[in-house]
Symmetry: C2
Subunit: 110 residues, 2 copies
DNA sequence: TAGATAGTTAACTAATTGGTTAAATACTAA
DNA sequence: TTAGTATTTAACCAATTAGTTAACTATCTA
């Protein structure tokens, strides 16, 4: 799917890529630095970065022989806003649980 | 990947499934009702529902010949919380843009 | 019991994904 | 110019995904 939200969520569906974003939240990093915590090959890392780049979640520069990546958080904001519309639903569920427990207690009194 | 966050984001990476969740935010619905807006076959719908169910995003009952689905928003809450840790980053980016524009203006004065 | 409606399962396909190894490219430093 | 470091590209592979059609199961109603 080409729509932004789909490629954002697809990019976030992989734990390696989420870990990369977590690292990048603290500032730019080279490919080597991003690869360090993982035991997968460099080409695999390169592909993950490409997915993140195509999703608009990172931007890359060239600096000598390095290709530092920098987080671009705008798509995360959009994803967050999409989820936000469901806040009522997850709070509602808790409300319903509260209500259920309250009713149960009332029934036990009688 | 089996981790909850990965399967939540993977489930959200498809526009058909997101539309289903949007419909379910307003209350339970049968498979037929959920299928209605789409031109894909029933087995395809059935598979999407299975993805949502395995991700814990819906729960299903049997009621006569219907299998109504109901939204379970808890995984959305977790996803939202994961994204929330990046709020600073997307707000920071805007701050940096502000700063950049401010500097640009100062330079033009001198 | 037969027909209609609701939904799933099976078997298949084409495209995508996440990984690999080997080779190529880009740049630095001696 | 040669060696070393950083990174990407190419070619391949196995598993997964999103769809299909055909056949099956479950339930209600006449």
């Amino acid at each position: 799917m080409n729509d932004t939200l789909s490629s954002t969520f697809a990019a976030l569906a992989d734990p390696t890529r989420r870990a990369m974003l977590t690292r990048l939240a603290q500032g730019p990093a080279t490919v080597k630095e991003l690869a360090d915590p993982f035991k997968i090959s460099m080409p695999a890392i390169s592909k993950h970065l490409k997915v993140l780049e195509h999703a608009g979640l990172i931007e890359r520069r060239r600096e000598a022989q390095w290709r530092p990546a920098q987080l671009q958080a705008a798509p995360l904001k959009d994803a967050s806003q999409w989820l936000e519309t469901y806040r009522q639903n997850w709070e509602e569920n808790l409300d319903r649980l509260d209500e259920y427990l309250r009713k149960l207690q009332e029934e036990q009194k009688s």
